[in-house]
Amino acid sequence: MKKNKNQANLFMAFFRVGIFGFGGGPASITLVHKEVVKHYKWMNEEEFSDVLALGNAMPGPIATKMAGYIGYRVGGLTGLFNAIAATIVPTVAAMILLLATLNAYRDVAWVNGMSQAVIPVVAVMLGVLTWDFIKKSSSALGWLITLFLVGASLLFLEWLNVHPAILIAVILAYALLFGHKGKKGKAGRKHRGDPQ
């Protein structure tokens, strides 16, 4: 009985995170925190920030990593699938429905106008996100190294047409091999629990 209750709670917790979290996964981490630590008390602050730090040390979307791991801790494998489904299914379904509807009316002039007007807004959102990344990396690496890495990335990606996956893989390998020579995790500790 308690088991079923747990699964129902898991579903509700991550369902709410999914449908109230605007601005992508990293923006919804505070909602996850509210449900998991404050409301259902599945974890304390310390455990939560450990899981978040771990999630940030791994690639891939943060929201599903958190949902999957917390679901697994609370309700085993069933909990894992349950929490992930609650996080992604409602919004993916809404997305497919909305776009299918829009595509059906693609040739109508005012629908066309709608999709034109929304592009600059998305450009602004991406621009702000770009700036966030630059600010974060300058606080971790300093302006000089950040500017150098930005310049080098531009050169490789835009003029030499290197596939981004290859460039990123090379950088990750470099960090893994030589990363211990940097400042000993001091800058890192400050950023613990930071969703980006």
Binding site: G60, V92, L98, I119, P120, A123, V124, G127, I168, H180
Partner: protein, 177 residues
């Protein structure tokens, strides 16, 4: 073979995108627009715009929709699996190991060093969207819409979903002609 392509298109951004879902969007665009040519930049930006107007993680909304558009419901499932599973499996499986090394400078360095590259990818994508918008609705419309939405979202803290809804309304009325 389409399912294998869908898997790869989302698997690669999933394992290389440090910084959560939004950071992996330029990598997704690279696969979907440049490599597999399933969509044009214009189509991709529309999907992204609508994705941003809905709540929930952006990476899975993009994967779900693009997977569905290319391969039906099974395609959506494959794309979602490729986005979510690899890093989650690693996280659950390597948990004790990771707990030991989570403060290790090497692990910290991995996400720090990759950030400027992600910034460049995002910046290039931003530029692409502005260029598309200028081509579609002209420089003045683009500049006005961008400026107003910047002020609303960043200076006045208006919810992004409301700003997108406003832009949709504006477009339907003034750009539809």
């Amino acid at each position: 073979m389409i399912y294998w392509e869908i898997f790869l298109a989302f698997f690669i951004p999933g394992i290389l995108g440090y910084g959560g879902g939004p950071a992996s969007i330029p990598l997704v665009e690279n696969e979907v627009v440049n490599r597999y040519e399933w969509m044009t930049t214009q189509e991709f930006s529309e999907v992204l715009a609508l994705g941003n107007s809905l709540p929930g993680p952006i990476a899975t909304k993009m994967a779900g929709y693009i997977g569905y558009a290319e391969g039906g419901w099974l395609g959506a499932l494959v794309a979602l699996f490729a986005t979510v599973a690899p890093s989650l499996i690693l996280m659950v499986a390597l948990l004790s190991l990771l707990l030991k090394y989570k403060d290790s400078p090497r692990v910290k360095m991995m996400s720090s060093l990759v950030r400027p590259t992600i910034a460049v990818l995002l910046g290039v994508m931003t530029w692409g969207f502005f260029a598309d918008s200028i081509e579609a609705s002209g420089g003045i419309q683009t500049a006005v819409l961008a400026l107003i939405s910047f002020v609303l979202m960043e200076k006045m803290n208006v919810h992004p979903a409301l700003v997108i809804a406003g832009a949709l309304l504006y477009g339907a009325v003034f750009l539809g002609g």
